[in-house]
């Protein structure tokens, strides 16, 4: 080793500091990570939102030279106030996996060969043109993600919906929160939560609906625990289908049979009305009653169509509808004791208590996802506990920009950055801002995600560009869609940072810049937009997803729509996009403000963020003189929906006698393509597993760690058993985390979806088990 005097002194100082620490604290020593060569020892800290979940924690990334070397929580970010979870603290290690994709690859004679990225982009553009010429504009598609940055999604929508005139734009957020969107749209006429995380510091009761917050939104859950400890008047009710860390931490854990949350929510409303806990002043002024179609199907067949039909109800008609949902009747359906239903109703109905409901995938990945969202809103609306600090229904999101990029930019087939493609005014607005001739945007939505991959299988779609997501792990009933993608005459482009089962089916792989390797913006669960600058350079030829799309758009002749320079394109795109949301209901903060702050909540009006919507004290979009104003719906009221209990698409029977539920663990995020490459996270949970109730395991003759074959009508997977591990399902149910590409649980799942939101149900299908 060659030491100059300066670095020798530095080293000597460090060594003596270590020796001193060692003499004070015997046994202490320092970590054995590889030391960065030539480092000054100085770290600069740059703000960013965390790369992983929808909580949107602010992190400070420590940079030394051109590498990210450390992470701490951003104390200026009100989301997490300086705290992260284990994924956030180790997030920067996900940049440095040894198998990062750093060059473009193209399939030639069945083999992937490296090519310069410019050549790969030429091929992508030529293939789009060729496919449109041969098969029409609706034969090309782009499939993005709630991990797309806002500019990524915006340019994707502008190119495909605007310039190419196809509504074949979808994102994996369809699999994650589209039921939340349709829930908001049907109940409130406008998307995204009315409350914010500050509700946690005010609420007395937290009811989590099928939501293991302790693992999935740990930073928010810690805030709940700290409030319970500090304030003492706080209780947590875990309402779930399986026992988890959240159940352990709760004051009361209530288990229900899968799908029966619909019945329980109605029973709670029944109890609230029976006991006259209704907030009549609120209901009379701000609520109207409605019903829609029933027996609405499950979308299992190709080209399934559904349109709901709204009919007004009177309160008495709604009350009569609830007669089927007495706690005693619902106990028989749900397995929840009537006294527990009454207890939950009493908490919601207590005029003194502030109640916040949290949910995420349990309610959204549900063949009646829109309905269960409506039903939980019903409860809050009946008692008027909404849009005030500490009281409200709160729909959490799973991805860092599911709200920012998918819901707000509208990267779904029916949507535009403002409104939807079916609306002539919304189309005209987009065509004007995008500088396109009138009539460029097609008024007809095409395919939602499941149907998009069915269309790829059928051959209606021939070209698909997949960015920042891993559908060959996450699509339900995976075999059909993998085989569809591999068919002759299908062209699959994948932009990603690591090899995945999705890059395995690609014809072109584009190396993507990840997270802080590019400038970007995310939008979190509480309407907070978060900007970060480029903090480290991307490796090799890796390029931001936004810039990849811009490059392809220019090759297709759309220079006029994509004129920005590589140094300032993010700021320019943001300011263009912001025009879609002008006005008090959705105004976004300017670029300069976002650059300075650790996230800004919209509506951002006259320099102020809006914490509680529909409440005139906080929300400038409300008419003055009202106590609340639900301005999203045409009648200026929030809508209560009569939605019945209907069974799941597939329930256990004699042969397939177990429920299968899928989900996550705290250490791994989504398909593990990032977290599996982080040593701490991988070693903590190095493999997926199937959680089985101890008695079911005994019946099978399986002990912990032994292999179990999970078989459904779609396929099978063999994986190790986990008995009394991280969670425990009740008898007759099993649970599998989906992060591990070596155990593809989605070979087994069913592609049934909510007919209104088109979001698949990953939480329920029927399987049988064999000892392998």
């Amino acid at each position: 080793m060659n030491l100059d005097r300066r670095s020798f002194l530095k080293c000597a100082a460090a060594c003596s500091a270590m020796a001193a620490a060692g003499s004070i604290f015997p046994g202490i020593s320092f970590a054995d990570w590889k030391k960065q060569e030539g480092a000054s020892g100085m770290i600069t800290w740059k703000k960013a939102p965390c790369r992983f979940c929808g909580t949107g924690c602010g992190v400070l990334v420590g940079v030394s030279g051109d590498r990210a070397v450390a992470v701490k929580g951003d104390p200026n970010c009100s989301v997490n106030k300086g705290l992260c979870c284990v994924k956030g603290y180790h997030s920067v290690q996900a940049l440095y996996g040894a198998d990062r994709i750093t060059t473009a690859k193209v399939k030639r004679d069945g083999k992937m060969v490296e090519v310069p990225i410019k050549e790969a982009l030429d091929i992508v553009a030529a293939k789009i043109k060729e496919t449109i010429d041969k098969h029409g504009k609706n034969s090309v598609a782009i499939y993005g993600s709630g991990q797309w940055t806002i500019p990524d999604g915006y340019v994707a929508s502008k190119l495909f919906k605007g310039c190419l005139g196809t509504n074949n734009v979808e994102a994996n957020a369809r699999l994650c929160m589209s039921s939340a969107v349709t829930g908001f749209m049907t109940s409130f006429g406008i998307d995204e939560p009315m409350g914010c995380y500050e509700d946690i510091d005010h609420a007395n009761v937290f009811i989590t609906w099928g939501n293991n917050m302790a693992e999935m939104h740990p930073v928010l859950f810690s805030r709940i625990l700290a409030n319970r400890k500090r304030r003492k008047d706080v209780e947590i009710i875990d309402f779930a289908t399986r026992s988890t860390r959240s159940s352990q931490a709760s004051d009361k854990s209530i288990l229900f049979k899968p799908q029966t949350d619909l019945a329980v929510a109605n029973a709670i409303c029944h109890e609230i009305i029976r006991n006259n806990w209704v907030n009549w002043d609120f209901v009379n002024k701000h609520v109207s009653f409605h019903k829609g179609k029933t027996n609405i199907g499950y979308g299992l067949e190709d080209k399934f169509q559904f349109a709901d039909q709204e009919e007004p109800l009177t309160f008495d008609q709604y009350k009569a509808f609830l007669d089927d949902y007495t706690p005693e009747k619902v106990e028989k359906i749900s397995g929840v004791p009537a006294r527990d239903i009454k207890y939950m109703a009493a908490l919601y109905g207590d005029p003194i208590k502030k109640v916040t409901s949290f949910w995420c995938m349990g309610m959204n990945q549900h063949t009646r996802g829109t309905w269960i969202n409506n039903l939980v809103y019903n409860i809050h609306l009946l008692v008027g506990k909404i849009s005030t600090p500490g009281s409200g229904p709160f729909s959490l999101t799973g991805q860092p920009s599911a709200c920012g990029t998918v819901r707000e930019v509208g990267t779904l087939t029916h949507a535009l950055p403002h409104g939807g493609v079916a609306n002539a005014e919304d189309r005209a607005m987009a065509e004007k801002i995008w500088d396109l001739p009138a009539g460029s945007i097609d008024p007809k939505p095409t395919y939602h995600t499941v149907e998009m991959f069915r269309a790829l299988d059928r051959g209606d779609i021939r070209f698909i560009w997949i960015q920042v997501t891993n559908p060959m792990v996450t699509l339900p009933k995976l075999k059909r869609y993998r085989e569809g993608a591999l068919k002759e005459d299908r062209f699959v482009v994948v932009s990603d940072v690591y090899p995945t089962p999705t890059t395995d089916v690609a014809d072109v792989i584009l190396p993507a810049a990840m997270w802080i390797e590019k400038e970007g913006l995310f939008g979190n669960s509480e309407r907070r937009t978060q900007h970060w600058e480029q903090i480290v350079p991307p490796p090799g030829e890796a390029m931001s997803d936004t810039w990849q799309i811009i490059e392809v758009a220019r090759r297709l002749g759309f220079e006029k729509q994509f004129p920005w320079s590589e140094t300032e394109y993010i700021g320019k795109i943001w300011e263009e996009y912001r025009r879609f949301h002008e006005g008090p209901k959705h105004n976004m903060a300017p670029y300069t403000v976002l650059k300075e702050r650790s996230g800004v909540q919209w509506p951002f009006v006259n320099g102020k963020e809006t914490r509680w919507r529909f409440n005139p004290v906080y929300d400038p979009a409300c008419d003055k003189g009202r106590d609340f104003h639900f301005y999203g719906q045409k009648d200026n009221r929030a809508w209560i929906w009569a939605r019945p209990y209907e069974p799941a698409a597939e329930s256990p029977d004699k042969e397939y006698n177990f429920w299968l539920n899928t989900g996550r663990v705290i250490e791994h995020w989504h398909t593990g393509s990032m977290t599996m490459r982080v040593p701490v996270l991988y070693n903590a949970v190095p493999s997926s597993y199937v959680e089985i109730h101890p008695d079911d395991a005994a019946d099978l003759g399986v002990v912990n760690g032994e292999m179990v074959k999970i078989i459904s009508r779609r396929g099978s997977v063999t994986m190790p058993a986990s008995i009394l591990g991280r969670g425990v399902p009740p008898r007759g149910q099993v649970f599998v985390p989906f992060f591990d590409e070596r155990y593809l649980i989605n070979e087994v799942t069913l592609d049934a979806f909510c007919p209104i939101s088109k979001q698949p149900d990953y939480k329920k299908c029927a399987v049988k088990l064999e000892k392998a």
Binding site: F25, P26, G27, I28, S29, F30, A31, D32, W33, I43, G62, A70, V71, K72, L83, C84, C85, V86, Y89, H90, V92, Q93, D99, A214, P218, V219, F221, S222, L225, A226, R228, K229, S243, T244, R245, S247, Q248, A249, P499, P501, D504, I666, E667, M676, V678, P679, V680, L681, Y682, N683, A684, P686, P694, L724, G725, R726, G727, V728, E741, R742
Partner: protein, 219 residues
């Protein structure tokens, strides 16, 4: 071993001692109806409940009464049951509360003039099954050539400033709060942020005596 005569050092410790003199601090967690809930996830429930019922002032108090050298002096290898460093009855009297009356709850012991370490597994009541008194004997029966590995090193983080991994197995040591907070804790492993109760939100096990695994794609 005789109880240490060491006086309590700083004013802060003295204050803590006055606060907790002779009273049980860590409350006993009431058991749930379902035994399963206590068993899964390495008994994670006890951690949440312990956090909720232990006063902040106790969690953040320190005494300096115990250090890591003394801690390992009582053990034969990292993770072995510690021997009992103070006079105790020679045989199991059947009165399980003899040990747990102090070690389930912690607090200050006027008898030993020390803060009492809290057991991470108060549900295990047959203490002498694993813990035996440390006695001075005049002559050993035979010498023993026993060797073991170094104890886990402290402060192991995956990157600068990141939360250290849990270097030991969690079996019988699943209650972080028992050993890592409060005035009875070993000074080197007492945490500085006792107001946080969801320990495994940030700290995950990476057992130092097990090989580090690396993800590799099967394809």
């Amino acid at each position: 071993m005789k109880p240490s005569e060491k006086t309590i050092g700083s004013l802060g410790y003295l204050l803590a001692a006055v606060c907790f003199l002779g009273i049980g601090i860590v409350q006993i967690i009431p058991a749930r109806a379902s035994a399963d809930l206590l068993l899964y996830d390495l008994g994670g429930e006890s951690l949440y409940k312990q956090y909720d019922i232990t006063p902040d002032s106790y969690l953040s108090a320190g005494s300096g009464d115990r250090n890591l050298n003394g801690f390992y002096d009582l053990r034969q290898y990292p993770g072995s049951p510690p021997r009992i460093p103070h006079p105790a009855e020679d045989s199991f009297s059947g009165k399980t509360q003899n040990c747990l009356s102090c070690h389930a709850r912690g607090g200050y012991s006027p008898e030993y003039q020390k803060f009492i370490p809290v057991t991470p597994h108060p549900d295990k009541e047959l203490c002498y099954q694993c813990h035996v008194p440390l006695k001075e004997v005049k002559r050993r029966f035979q010498e023993n050539n026993w060797e073991s590995i170094n104890p886990p090193r402290l402060g192991r983080s995956a990157l600068g400033g990141s939360p250290p991994m849990i270097p030991h197995s969690l079996q019988l040591r699943e209650n972080c709060i028992a050993c890592h907070t409060g005035p009875g804790a070993v000074v080197e492993i007492r945490i500085g942020h006792a107001a946080r109760g969801n320990c495994r939100q940030c700290h995950v096990p990476m057992v130092q005596t097990e090989p580090v695994r690396v993800f590799s794609r099967t394809r």
